[in-house]
Symmetry: C2
Subunit: 245 residues, 2 copies
């Protein structure tokens, strides 16, 4: 598929890996980014271990237009994301004056060391505050640092969503009542003729209205339509079924 | 936390990254492995791109006792997992005689190239067949190759679950009606005194019966109990609340 804006996602949280909660942030971000035409290239869920976060940030920030991290933001010993992101860019952390002022307004003059950690940001970071979210979103280069609690994460994403822009991304589907093996060669040849789109083939093993869903995704509407027409040409019309509801 | 058997998970599928379906395999495997005392260290979701799969298999197979991959198994152009796993170990692929026999029984003497791909396995692989699943599970070294369709994946996991063994893994929780910042320092000190367990702190921002859940996980029951007793010593009993239902 032709390149466009892309994202990688880093979900930081022992609670997900230990099965205590299911990750909701990855599925939300995948959908919300896709609505803006941003293709998610990779998602990783890793533990709250600073060196692992640092390495993953280095790898994932370089692999896409944007990296979004969720989790590990807060006052406790397992909240290590800010320092790990700073280390990924070889910078230190400092207390952001605006966040300090906000903490003082809320909690008074005396801030415990634990609370003070909530004002820490990597050197050179941009601090996005605004009406949408009750906390700031910290940005370092192309990395956006979001909280792990899903309701808060969504508000924070809304805070910065506008600046991500809007790209075109078209997707069409064809549903067939024939098995994948019978069409595999023909579909593979269509993909080879249309490298500017991505063709997916997804079998359904539940008894239902279709056996295979073919998808055509691309950045250019004409390219998607051309590949779709080529698929329709090589597939027997008798195999086509209506899309499920 | 003291080391025990561990796993990494590699979810292969454009359909998840493009938001067409939500991944069900990761959450299932995390829970099923945890029930066997196997700790999941990392989960990655990546696209059906052979070089990326190969690199991820190399990284993740070396990072845990077991690596489980899901997806990219089948007859179509986007089913590239078998060849990519083989490449990760520097071996080729061949047609497994038992799988060929099974395909011939089902589809007759003439097998199309697309169907023949369903018998491909990496050289040196173990092919696990059995009553539990309608298809084979392919194992290469410590890597188990599972299908992407959730219902099939679960049957395949059941096929090989016994041989993963059963390790001890204890988890206890304490629920508190106080904010995280007020307890962060004390909880961090308990974690420092008990490196043989993992202490997690999870705030709840919904109005409910508790504000923080502390968890203590470990391989040794006595170690978990000792850390729990230390937490109870440093936390005011007035903060404790009953676990939610």
């Amino acid at each position: 598929m032709t390149d466009g804006p892309s994202a990688t996602l880093l979900i930081i949280g022992n609670e997900v890996l230990s099965g205590k909660v299911e990750d909701q942030n990855g599925p939300f971000l995948i959908r919300a980014l896709r609505e803006r035409g941003i293709e998610t290239r990779e998602l990783r869920i890793i533990a709250d271990i600073p060196e692992r976060i640092t390495r993953a940030v280095q790898e994932l920030a370089g692999a896409a237009t944007y990296l979004f991290t969720t989790g590990g933001i807060g006052p406790t010993h397992d909240d290590v994301t800010i320092a790990a992101v700073a280390a990924a860019f070889g910078v230190g952390v400092h207390h952001d004056p605006e966040l300090l002022r906000w903490l003082h307004e809320r909690h008074g003059d005396e801030l415990s060391p634990a609370r003070l950690r909530l004002a820490e940001v990597p050197d050179g970071a941009t601090v996005h505050t605004g009406a949408a979210a009750p906390m700031a979103v910290i940005q370092v280069h192309n990395v956006f640092v979001l909280p792990g609690v899903p309701a808060l994460m969504r508000l924070c994403f809304d805070q910065i969503a506008e600046q991500l822009g809007q790209a075109e991304l078209y997707s069409r589907s064809i549903y067939l009542n024939i098995g994948e093996a019978a069409i595999a060669t023909a579909v593979g040849e269509v993909q080879n003729r249309h490298s500017d789109v991505a063709i997916g083939s997804y079998p359904s093993f539940e008894r239902g209205p279709y056996r295979v869903r073919l998808t055509v995704d691309g950045r250019d509407r004409d390219a998607v339509d051309r590949a779709l027409a080529d698929l329709e040409r090589v597939l027997d019309p008798a195999w086509r079924v209506e899309p499920p509801d």
